[in-house]
């Protein structure tokens, strides 16, 4: 029985009865079907049981709800999906997300949103280490705390952190903006706090509403690159030392 046939009968899949490959093929078929008939069905995954690699590589729009905790790399390499996860997740949530939204009700492991290029990721709980590392675009919102080296080598995009941050926030970031409501244990190499502008406040107001996050823009501080690492003299030992 092909997965397309299964989909015609079901909008809900019990993960416990299928391999990860079958689940992802079923989701891809669902997305293809939705594109063909112009519909926007919501499909539901049940009993995910912290399974790794769920809903990866979906390149056309689909509304997905996952009822329970997911494992590593959920929603990785996706574009245009609208996902709600009623649970926590392991490492690498929505890595390299190109577009669409991923909303996590629980907490995330390390490297959530790493290398994301577009779209919106919302984490209602906390996120672990290396959150948003090497971000290249899009918006990442964490209601709670983030772990160490968050925003490491971030290149573009916006990160909004409602809680506190671990060590080395924004280490060696090139571009992109980090908004932090709580405190960071320390800022990473060449990450500096700058004044908020009116544009920042307007943007924050809009995104906070979108992320269903009840917070005031005025409570955030802004961190961005000091751009001292763009060009530096190898003789500048102090910068070298910090950069390493």
């Amino acid at each position: 029985m092909g997965t397309a046939v299964i989909l015609q009968e079901l909008q809900t899949l019990n993960c416990a009865l299928h391999t990860t490959r079958e689940i992802n093929a079923w989701l891809k078929d669902a997305a293809r079907q939705a594109a063909l008939d112009g519909s926007s069905p919501e499909v539901v995954l049940q009993n995910p049981d912290s399974r790794h690699n769920l809903a990866v590589g979906l390149m056309t729009p689909l509304r997905i709800r996952i009822d329970g905790p997911v494992g590593y790399y959920c929603a990785g390499l996706c574009d245009g999906i609208e996902m709600l996860i009623n649970g926590g997740c392991g490492w690498g949530l929505a890595e390299n997300l190109m577009g669409g939204t991923v909303h996590l009700k629980g907490s995330a492991g390390s490297a959530a949103g790493a290398t994301m290029r577009g779209g919106l990721i919302v984490i209602e709980g906390d996120a672990g280490a290396r959150c948003g590392a090497a971000m290249k675009g899009g918006t990442l919102v964490v209601h709670g705390d983030v772990g160490f080296m968050t925003g490491f080598m971030m290149q573009k995009g916006t990160m909004i952190i409602g809680g506190d941050a671990g060590e080395a926030l924004g280490d060696s970031l090139y571009e992109g903006k980090i908004y932090l409501r709580g405190n960071a244990e320390n800022l990473g190499s060449d990450a500096v706090q700058v004044d908020m502008t009116e544009d920042d406040a307007t943007m924050l107001q809009r995104v906070l509403v979108q992320a269903k996050f009840d917070a005031k823009p005025a409570d955030f501080k802004k961190i961005e690159s000091g751009k001292r690492l763009y060009n530096f003299d190898t003789k500048e030992k102090e910068i070298w030392k910090n950069a390493m």
Partner: protein, 310 residues
């Protein structure tokens, strides 16, 4: 990758189904490593007499009972065949176990060396009063029959994805912190200053059962506790002195402890209810034994922690 897990009944109830719980946790972590599996179970019911367990090389038969009784200079008795080896009572346990902190067994280093020399490649995989270690090459279901009914207060599990050193019972985890009684460690990661540390211990007369870097951790902890460190202090020292990537769970007769390296590239989560603490590489193992209504937390980078039995 490797999967690690630990469970502790905080009330010190020695009849808890630790073997069953570890099996459930290990089964859902199986995808993290299928080269070998192992558990360590601590039970005060075993505490009357010290014992040892021997793992024979794959495919090698244990010596027959009469031969075994002749081994170890008359210090072993009540030899029982186990899967892949045998166990035996260790005589004169009181005299051997007389050190102040209860972890040490003076004189055992020489005893271990002599016994292993007569074992044709067999290695002692555990020694102590409360600890039993069971290991198998392959998936954890290989161990199911042996561990399902084990009861105790706490225990460890390991699923190995081998990235260095041999795949055989001697290189399976949890590792015993030889020669110290009742210390075991389950580790995910690599200890990069292992050879340097090992040479230091060898120059002091210590021997090792394997060429696996993880074996150093339990030895290190035992050595520190022998020198008067508390369990928590020994874990702090290990986190400072070990180099590489590590998330490990250590167990003594009195509880569990953890340490994580500063970069925290190996996962370690935990959750606690009124009577049970559980630790694991991935959350589903915690849900299996504690139910879905738990708050899961992560051991932080550089963090060490110890939980003692009441």
């Amino acid at each position: 990758m490797c999967g690690i897990a630990g469970i502790l009944k905080l009330d010190g109830h020695g009849t808890s189904p630790i073997g069953h719980d570890l099996l459930r946790m290990a089964t859902c972590l199986q995808h993290r490593g299928a080269d070998s599996a192992g558990v360590a179970v601590f039970s005060p019911d075993n505490s009357e007499q010290a014992h040892l367990q021997v793992a024979m090389p794959l495919g090698a038969a244990s010596p027959n009972a009469a031969t075994m009784l002749g081994l170890g200079a008359g210090r072993i008795a009540q030899v029982q065949a186990e899967r892949g080896g045998f166990s035996a009572a260790l005589l004169e346990a009181e005299a051997l176990n007389g050190a102040s902190n209860g972890h040490s067994a003076p004189g055992d280093a020489a005893f271990i060396r002599d016994l292993e020399e007569s074992l044709a490649g067999g290695t002692i995989s555990a020694m102590g009063r409360t600890m039993r270690v069971y290991k198998a090459v392959g998936a954890v279901e290989e161990l199911a029959g042996q561990i399902e009914d084990l009861r105790g207060t706490h225990g460890l599990a390991h699923l190995r994805l081998a990235t260095e050193s041999r795949i055989d019972p001697a290189h399976a985890q949890p590792f015993w912190g030889r020669p110290y009684h009742d210390i075991a460690v389950t580790h995910n990661g690599h200890i990069t200053n292992y050879l340097k540390l090992r040479r230091g211990f060898e120059s002091r007369g210590f021997s090792f059962a394997s060429h696996n870097d993880s074996e150093i951790i339990g030895v290190y902890l035992g050595d520190k506790m022998e020198a008067g460190f508390s369990f928590g202090e020994a874990l702090e020292a290990a986190a400072r002195e070990l180099d590489g990537s590590f998330s490990f769970i250590a167990a003594t007769a009195h509880g569990l402890g953890v340490a994580r390296d500063p970069l925290a590239t190996k996962p370690l989560l935990y959750a606690q209810t009124d009577d049970t603490l559980a630790l694991a590489s991935e959350p589903q193992a915690l849900y299996r034994v504690l139910g879905s209504d738990i708050r899961i937390r992560e051991i932080k980078p550089k963090e060490t922690r110890a939980w003692e039995l009441l």
